[in-house]
Structure formats: C-alpha cells, structure tokens
C-alpha cells in the first residue's frame, strides 16, 4: 500500500518490517529504545519488539560495532545506529579492520550482514560533530557497501535491501531530509540497491548527487529551466559501488557533468566520479567534470554552514562554468 510519510518514518517502518519478518534482526544503538533515537527513527520499536531485540547500548561506538560483529557471527543481523556522523570514528577501527575484511579473510566462510545507520550531513544548525559527511572514508574501504537514500520511498526500500544484504552496509541517512514527506509504496521494490536513478530527464548537463543533495539538484534544475537550460538530475543512491554505467549513459547524452555533495571536494566521491567518467567519456565531454561540495576546512559553526554547503547559487555557478566551455 502507498502512504505519504516522512523519511524518518519510512526508515522506522522499514525497520519494523524487518524486525517483524526476521527474528534474527536486531536494532542496537545509543538511545534507540525508550527514547526512539534522538531523531525518533526507532520510535516505538522497543515497545513492540522488546529490549532483547531493540537494544540500548553503552555509549561506546567501537563497542556497538564490535559486539554487533560478534552477534552476526552468532547468526544475528544487527542494524546499529551511530547517533551522529561525527561520532562514528571511535568505531572506525572495528568497521575498517574487522567488519570490512572478515568475509575475505575467512575465504568467504564468515558473512557479516550488519547495517550501520549514520544520520549525516548539515543544514540543521547543529553544534560541532553533528553535521559531517564522511561517506568517502567508508567508500574507500573494500568490503563495505555505502548507500544514501534521498527520499522516503528509497529510504524504506534501501533499508530493506541493506538488511537483506550479506555484506556490511554503511547506511547514510540525510538528516536534513528526515522530515520531508513523500509517498512510499510498501508493496513494490523500486529497483536494485546500487542502481542510480534519473529523477529528471534533461539534455544540456547532468547533475549527479545522492542523499541530501538530490533535492537541491532538482531545485537547481528548476531554476536553470527558467533560464532555458535543460538539466538532467541523477540520484546515485549508492556511493559504493557507484553506478558508473548510468552516469556514463547520461553524460554521453548531455556531454557535461557536475557532481554535488556536502562532503569536502578534496578526495571526495566527486573526485572518483570525475576521474572515471573522464576515462569512460573522454570524447563525449565538452567540459571538465566539475565538483561542488564542502571546503578543505573543518565543518564550520552553524552560522557559517550556508556558506560552506553547496547551495542553489553555487551549483548554478558550476553549471554556468561547465556550459561556458
């Protein structure tokens, strides 16, 4: 059935469905129980599924991921919540040295079907360490899959698919979009987890984004349309693997590409996309692949975040520069 729901609620419903259908699914994290998580994403789940399956953990991120690995070895499918993007780093060692590598080093004997949920990104006026976008730090690590939904329907279905995946999935939730509402059809899977989607067809230039920046790119395309520019918007949905085939198909049509993400441009996912699309589409490109993202500076205090984050004008400026070639 199809209901209109907020992105946070869509994840909540998806987790509820997983808990309901698979007794091995567990929810773990700080404040995920009675409180329902600081963003209420796990609201009501402990009440309905009990403390044994929706587990309030000690405040120790490495411990959360490390014990989730042990539970997965025992046959469970833990979905762990890291409360905020900037709090994931105590768990980074467990994620990189243990979670990512166990399947390979066991020669495929051990699977770790763990989802690490991370509310990420800025734009909500938060304090330090609550607005970061560290997805590239995880995409760089073989053994991990990294995804980020941009809308409630994807949030619902990508969470279903992430939980069903036998690989560890880092699930970046665009916290500034948690309250955006849209229709979610809980009966029909919209497509594979790691496939990009064209959310707006266009012919003059491709805007590629994921998570919180997809909505911005749609607004950019609207604004550009008023100036007679016909932009295509691609929702990548997955950062590892990246659906380069879909980007290539789009760029072969539009011949121009601008990648947008909140994360710093330097060594960001846009850099990888630019390099690979340049290799794949060298003779199709009319302009260098441009990137719009954060600066090589610590995430600034909230009063400065509008200057730091890609906004409508900054993306439009990149579009103009690409079209000027």
């Amino acid at each position: 059935m199809a209901d209109k729901m907020a992105l946070a609620k869509a994840i909540n419903e998806s987790l509820r469905r997983a808990l309901d259908t698979d007794p091995k699914v567990l929810i773990m994290g700080e404040d995920v129980g009675k409180l329902g998580g600081v963003f209420r994403v796990t609201d009501g789940l402990q009440k309905d599924f009990g403390e044994s399956r929706v587990i309030d953990t000690p405040l120790a991120e490495s411990g959360i991921v490390g014990t989730a690995i042990g539970l997965a070895l025992r046959g469970y499918r833990p979905v762990v919540e890291i409360q905020f993007d900037g709090f994931v780093f105590p768990a980074y060692d467990q994620i990189v040295t243990q979670l990512a590598k166990m399947h390979a080093r066991s020669l495929g004997k051990v699977k770790l079907p763990i989802v690490v949920r991370i509310p990420y990104g800025g734009g909500i006026g938060a304090v330090e360490h609550h607005s970061e976008s560290p997805e590239a730090l995880f995409a760089h690590v073989a053994g991990l899959k990294v995804v980020s939904p941009s809308n409630p329907s994807d949030a619902y279905w990508m969470m279903q698919q992430a939980i069903q995946s036998d690989d560890p999935v880092i699930f970046f939730e665009p916290k500034r979009r948690y309250w955006d509402k849209a229709e979610v059809n809980t009966d029909a899977i919209p497509g594979p987890l790691h496939k990009a989607r064209v959310v707006r067809e266009g012919s003059d230039l491709t805007l590629a984004a994921y998570g919180p920046m997809v909505k911005l790119c749609q607004e950019v395309a609207d604004a550009a349309a008023e100036e007679g520019r016909n932009l295509e918007v691609l929702d990548l949905r997955s950062v590892s693997p990246i659906d380069f085939d879909s980007i290539q198909a789009s760029v072969e049509k539009t011949r121009r590409l601008v990648v947008v993400h909140e994360a710093p441009v330097f060594f960001g996912s846009g850099a990888e996309i630019a390099a690979r699309i340049t290799e794949r589409c060298f003779y199709h490109l009319e302009a260098p692949v441009l990137r719009v993202g954060g600066y090589h500076a610590p995430y600034p205090p909230a009063r400065l975040e509008e200057e730091y984050l890609p906004g409508l004008d900054r993306v439009l400026d990149a579009v103009d520069r690409a079209l000027a070639y």
Partner: protein, 391 residues
C-alpha cells in the same frame, strides 16, 4: 581467589616503580605470590586449594598425560614454525614458547559448543580445538589471511589488531544468551591489549548484558618491548572489580591451575553469572615474533628465572613422582613430536601460492561492480603477457 577476597590488597607495584627492563633484575617469582592460584609448584608438587581443587578433582592419569602431550606437541609445532621462518618458508612467526600451560589448560577447559576468540599466538588453544596446526601457518607464510573455517571448530580467525576480538567475543556471548543456550565464550588477549579501549568496552558491555564470556588474559610480562608496568599500575585481574565481575590471577605456567580456574569461570558463564576475567601470569620465553630482538630490552636473568618455572617440566615432575607416566610414554611422545614436526614441515613446503585472482575473491558476499571491473582489467593485463610469450 577472586577479586572480592583480595580487594583490600595494595597494588604490587606503585606507579613510581622503575621498569625492570634492565639487564639484571629478575621479576618477583609468581610461586611466592599470595594472589596467585597454583595447584602445581614449579617443582611439580601438588598443592591443595580449597576453591579450585574440585574443578580438577576427577582428573585421571590418562587426562594428565593428555595435558602433557598437548603441551609437548604444541611446543614442538611452535619450534618447527620458528625453524620454518628461519628457513624462509614463513614470513613471520609469533612463538608461544612458555605459554603452553596457559593455553592448554584453558583450551582443554572449553566444551565443543563453546566459542574461542584468539589473538595471533593461541596455537595451543587451536590445538585443543582440533584446528589442524598446518592451517595456522597459511597467514604466516602469506598465502591467506586466515585459512580455516571458524565455525568448524568454533575457533575464530586470528586477530592481529590488538584487543578487537574481545568485543566480538562479547557480542557472540550476548547472542548465546539471547538464544537461551548454555554455551560460553572465551576471549584471549594479552597484557598489552589490556590497555586497548576495545578491551575496556568489552568489559563494560559484557557486564551490562551479563554475557557468558571469559576474558583470558595471558600476562606474559612483555608487549613487544614494553613491560607490564607500562600498561597498568594495578594487577590486571583487579580491573574486573571496577566493572562488577570477578577477576582472578592464576599461575599461567601451571596447566592444572589454568584448567581448574578456566573451568570455574566457564561454569559461571554457563549458569548465568556473567563474565569473568582470568589473568594467567606467565612469561613469553621467546621474542615477540621472529622479527623481534628481546636482547635490546630485557636480560637473560629474568628469562632464566622463568625457565625454572617451565610448564612442561613441572608437569613431567608431577607425572613421574606420582607414577602416572613411564619411560615408554615419554619415548613414544618424542617419536610423535618428531612426526608432527615432519608433517608440518612438509605441509608448509607443499603449500602452494594462491591463484593470482584470489585478490578479488570474497571481497564481498554479494558481489561489487568495481571488483568485477578491476578483476576484468587485471585479467586483460595478465593475458597481455601470455600474448607476448605466445607471439
């Protein structure tokens, strides 16, 4: 003796105590340590212990000979691996020399359905779990990063990053509790790892969730070049008290005491009493690994003091004094040891290099487009050489 009974004791070393890393000072003998559980003295004399005797009360001469055999064969295997490294057959070896009693005693305390989370030095525990010793050598030879199926023997892969596995052990134990099973988990780590945050977090998690896990710390006195004084100012077993579960120090060179104390701790876990910390007080007789040079940081006297407390010699003395083993047993074991050495030597030399494409195998369980793409690029690159040779 548990933490509860010794909580009022003072730390054995104050923070200001100088390191004994000099060339002359021998450590305090564990056999005179009142905090230490010991059932066999270094001379092989059986001493009574009101708390732990019952855990080995029914042990038969056959089982005692079995413990001896385990220790001898493990030491022989370990020596063979060290030789194989010297011959260039292994890239590295982490010797367990001196820690046989801690590993065999604790390993033999486990039940088949228990689960073991080792570091990279638990060759004796692997032996007890039935892991073929040759499988342990693949990662040291560089043909894989862990060559056995952990679920075949409930023996996880070796973990090189210090302390990480204690959290996995805790999570696994939480799962056992959820399943309502009466299995238990034992997590191995060392005095160096005791400083890691993951170990502290595993104590916290296991205590909060009352997880059926035994933390078995082999305090072998040295974390590469750093003595235990660089890790702690209280005896390690006392740390358990702060987390709300018992800790006990056992003579790590006494196989009988290690067996008894670990059985006690595992029984606590099975009966829902939660975690226990066991500190097996022992000594790393060899180098940290074959790449290490202990002469740069410790003296011979310390080593000689510990040689007098050798775990194998002390059980042999006991077996002989109590007429539990005759010359025939020891001679037969000698032959068995040499046969094991030969088998390991031949197995390692015959171990093939992995297929080039193994780089791309098992990176993911469900596949990954980039891995597929790079595998194809690699194949094309490799094939380009074949073409040249064929031309």
């Amino acid at each position: 003796m548990t933490v509860e009974s010794t909580a009022a004791r003072k730390p054995r070393r104050s923070a200001g105590t100088k390191s004994t890393a000099g060339k002359t000072t021998a450590r305090k003998s564990p056999s005179t340590d009142p905090e230490l559980v010991q059932l066999l003295t270094p001379e092989g004399k059986r001493v009574k212990n009101a708390e732990y005797d019952k855990y080995v009360a029914g042990i038969t001469p056959d089982e005692l000979r079995g413990l001896y055999r385990d220790m001898v064969l493990t030491r022989r295997f370990d020596a063979e691996a060290t030789s194989l490294q010297r011959q260039g057959e292994l890239g590295l070896w982490a010797s367990l020399l001196g820690q046989e009693a801690a590993q065999i005693g604790s390993g033999r305390a486990t039940r088949e359905d228990d689960y073991v989370f080792p570091t990279y030095r638990e060759h004796g525990v692997a032996w007890c779990r039935g892991v073929d010793p040759t499988n342990l050598l693949g990662m040291f030879r560089g043909v894989n990063n862990g060559g056995w199926d952990p679920n075949s023997n409930n023996f996880q892969l070796y973990t090189i990053v210090i302390g990480s596995q204690t959290l996995h052990a805790t999570g696994y134990a939480m799962g056992i509790a959820k399943d309502g099973a009466d299995s238990a988990v034992i997590a191995y780590f060392g005095d160096g790892a005791s400083s890691q945050g993951d170990v502290a977090e595993s104590f916290t998690f296991s205590a909060v969730y009352n997880a059926p896990v035994v933390f078995f710390c082999q305090n072998n006195q040295w974390a590469i070049s750093e003595p235990t004084e660089k890790q702690t100012r209280v005896p390690l077993y006392q740390r358990a008290q702060g987390y709300g579960f018992p800790g006990v120090r056992v003579d790590g060179n006494d196989v009988l005491a290690c067996l008894a104390v670990t059985k006690w701790a595992l029984e606590r876990a099975r009966s829902g009493e939660g975690p226990t910390l066991v500190e097996a007080y022992t000594y790393r007789m060899g180098a940290h690994t074959t790449s290490d040079d202990p002469s740069r940081y410790r003296g011979d006297e310390e080593r000689m003091a510990w040689e007098a407390k050798d775990p194998i010699l002390r059980l042999r003395a006991y077996l002989e004094a109590s007429n539990h083993a005759d010359e025939g047993f020891f001679a037969e074991l000698e032959r068995e040891s040499e046969a094991l050495g030969k088998r390991v030597r031949e197995a390692v030399r015959a171990m093939p290099d992995p297929d080039h494409f193994a780089i791309f195998e098992n990176v993911y369980a469900d596949g990954h487009a980039l891995v597929d793409e790079e595998r194809a690029q690699f194949a094309a690159y490799q094939a380009s050489f074949t073409d040249v040779e064929g031309a």
